[in-house]
């Protein structure tokens, strides 16, 4: 019955009877607006990908950036993966992301569950303690002095530990946990399960969506770490990828601009530069679509409840 209704009614009939049909002008404007929007996001990605995969001649003929691909040339990627700063930075960033996300997720999930049971000992005080940093940011200069004072400078721990708990993510996960029917948790307790066991066996299996989303948030922030690396990492061989990207593309911006006007052959490095950009974007674009569908389920439910 339901399938029959669904088949006969297309998307159109989801419009309630009282709603006016759209005007052609409105439809057209909407189509234009959304096309521009989607193209505005995807076009730069496309141009950069194509340029990174273009041969020296193609780039020279196009005059810099390539919009229409002419054959695939992977020499830029071969240059990068032959070893050197970019390969090393990708490795460091991967390490920071994996270790950081694992630690941050563990800390956040534990704290979120510990704070999710109302009426437990010191519950309100602890909650206030965890929420205050949301309003008062740790100031830059003392933060720098604390991290260097702990001897974390030039280690990956300077990048991993300070952001290992984000109050926003904590609130989201806690809200999600509170949405789990308390009868379920109480019955586990009556059956003799400890809090740790309840968390591992009952709460976590029900919370895959929110764990995935918060894990993505953490992973992305660790992958994107740039400023903390500027502060805490002085050694070139410890640079994460964003720092290398910045020195390749932005710090080198001025000489590059003046070079192109005097006709110096830049094309090969241009492809390599764009390949660095692609490699920086790739992990995000690869993981994101699988987790994006959980956004609404995971985050909004958590955030609204929190």
């Amino acid at each position: 019955m339901t399938t029959l209704i669904r088949r006969t009614s297309g998307n159109r009939s989801r419009r309630p009877v009282w709603q006016e049909p759209p005007t052609p002008l409105g439809q057209g404007l909407k189509a234009v607006a959304f096309t521009v929007l989607v193209a505005g996001v995807l076009f730069p990605l496309w141009v950069i990908l194509v340029t990174s995969l273009s041969s020296r001649e193609t780039i020279a003929r196009a005059g810099g950036m390539v919009v229409v691909p002419r054959g695939v040339d992977t020499s830029a990627y071969e240059t990068i993966f032959a070893g050197g700063a970019v390969t090393r930075a990708l490795w460091i960033s991967t390490l920071v992301t994996v270790i950081g996300t694992a630690i941050a997720l563990t800390v956040t999930v534990l704290a979120a569950y510990g704070l999710s049971r109302p009426g437990s000992l010191g519950h309100r005080w602890l909650l206030a303690y965890f929420l205050i940093p949301f309003l008062v940011y740790p100031p830059l200069v003392p933060r720098y002095l604390v991290v260097t004072g702990l001897g974390l400078k030039d280690t990956i721990w300077a990048l991993v530990l300070p952001p290992a708990i984000s109050v926003f993510n904590l609130v989201v996960v806690r809200g999600f946990f509170q949405g789990i029917p308390s009868e379920l948790l109480d019955s586990a307790r009556i059956d003799g399960a400890s809090d740790f066991r309840t968390l591992a066996r009952i709460v976590l299996p029900l919370s895959r969506a929110v764990i995935a989303v918060v894990g993505l948030f953490y992973a992305v922030s660790y992958w994107n770490v740039w400023f903390d690396a500027l502060l805490f990492i002085d050694r070139n061989d410890m640079y994460p990828i964003q720092r290398v990207l910045q020195s390749y593309l932005l710090a080198g911006q001025a000489p590059h601009t003046s070079g192109s006007s005097s006709g110096v052959t830049m094309p090969p490095t241009e492809a390599v530069k764009m390949a660095v950009v692609v490699l920086t974007v790739a992990p995000i674009v690869a993981v994101y679509p699988f987790i994006q569908r959980h956004f609404v389920k995971g985050v909004l439910i958590g955030a609204v409840k929190g």
């Binding site: 709603q19 995807l42 810099g64 956040t108 009426g119 000992l121 309100r124 940011y137 740039w226």
Partner: protein, 341 residues
């Protein structure tokens, strides 16, 4: 390190203590007078779970907040072997750093830039996610809507380094736009290095990065609006614009107020990395904001006490702004970020 800290916490927390400010009164636990020892035995696992997060916040949030105190010192990093010793040996000078700060024209330039950028973004950025959310919400095809959402959320996950790189690749001196204009025989615009249009550039960048992401919360609010209201309004003869004005926008009002408060609380922090990354290309005059000022006049130069003073000034103003905005919201009958307990 974190373990004794958290165990010290609950002892201070009397079960019948007044609720800390900033939380609505929760369901009062039914067993009020359970002895502390019993509650400790019952809840120790929950406390142990909280401990790691407690410790990290203690070291990396609370300790730096307390460290603001060096704003009142003539902090000399070369005293002693590490920052702790330097702190212990540095001289106290009261408000000296603040006096220097308020006499520094560079500081007031950064202050003005920050406020100008905040105001500009409030007008030209803030409404866009609302409009986009309404547009998306009115799309009938849910598959198309999902596709567009997937695409427009994506840039939020790019770092500022990437976003600026994209803009350089598209609009910079060697970018696609300049290249196209040169081919067409025109003088290319210098968008990325022009201090006069910098404020527009950073706003466009911010829009590109976050306009899609900003829609999420509005879409959630839109989905909670009662459809019967629309039907009733339509039955009463309200057209689509009247329904938008009288049902959709009032439905979004609490969220809009909430986000406005949060934005005002952040009025003095306009996004740090974006400005630090572009400051050299554009010049200090246009691109120095308070955050980059703190960085350049402390960590980059070793004048920590001065930077700490600037940071503390900014933090205090930010906190005052957010409390004031929340108060105004209460007076207007909105919930704000927290309600009075």
């Amino acid at each position: 390190m974190s373990e004794p800290a958290v165990l010290a916490g609950p002892e201070r927390a009397r079960p019948d203590a007044p609720a800390p400010p900033g939380r609505p009164p929760r369901r009062r636990p039914s067993r009020r007078r359970v002895p502390l020892r019993t509650r400790l035995r019952r809840d120790w696992q929950l406390l142990a779970m909280v401990a790691p997060g407690f410790g990290i916040l203690l070291v990396f949030s609370y300790l730096p907040i307390a460290g603001n105190i060096i704003a009142f010192q003539d902090y000399n990093p070369y005293l002693g072997d590490n920052p702790w010793q330097a702190f212990a040996h540095s001289d106290w000078i009261g408000f000296g750093q603040f006096q220097l700060l308020f006499d520094d024209p560079a500081f007031w330039d950064a202050f003005r830039n920050t406020l100008a950028i905040t105001a500009f973004q409030l007008v030209f950025f803030f409404p866009l996610p609302i409009l986009l959310a309404i547009g998306l919400h009115n799309l009938l095809s849910s598959r198309l809507r999902g596709l567009i959402q997937t695409v427009v959320y994506l840039p939020h996950f790019f770092s500022w380094v990437l976003v600026v790189t994209f803009f350089v690749a598209m609009l910079g001196g060697a970018g696609l736009l300049a290249q196209t204009m040169r081919e067409a025989g025109m003088q290319p615009w210098n968008v990325m290095t022009n201090p006069d249009t910098f404020i527009v550039l950073v706003t466009v960048e911010a829009v590109w990065k976050d306009v899609g992401w900003g829609t999420i919360v509005f879409l959630a609010a839109l989905s909670t609006i009662d459809q019967n209201l629309y039907e009733a309004a339509a039955a009463d003869g309200a057209g689509r614009w009247r329904r938008l004005w009288h049902i959709t926008l009032p439905g979004l009002r609490p969220v809009i107020v909430l986000l406005l408060i949060l934005r005002l609380g952040d009025a003095l922090s306009v996004g740090f990395e974006q400005f630090l990354l572009q400051r050299d290309a554009v010049g200090r005059q246009a691109a120095e904001v308070l955050d980059t000022f703190v960085y350049h006049f402390s960590i980059a130069t070793g004048n920590y006490g001065y930077g700490a003073a600037a940071g503390l000034f900014k933090a205090v103003i930010g906190l005052v702004l957010i409390l004031a905005a929340n108060r105004v919201a209460h007076m207007l009958g909105e919930r704000g970020i927290y309600s009075k307990s």
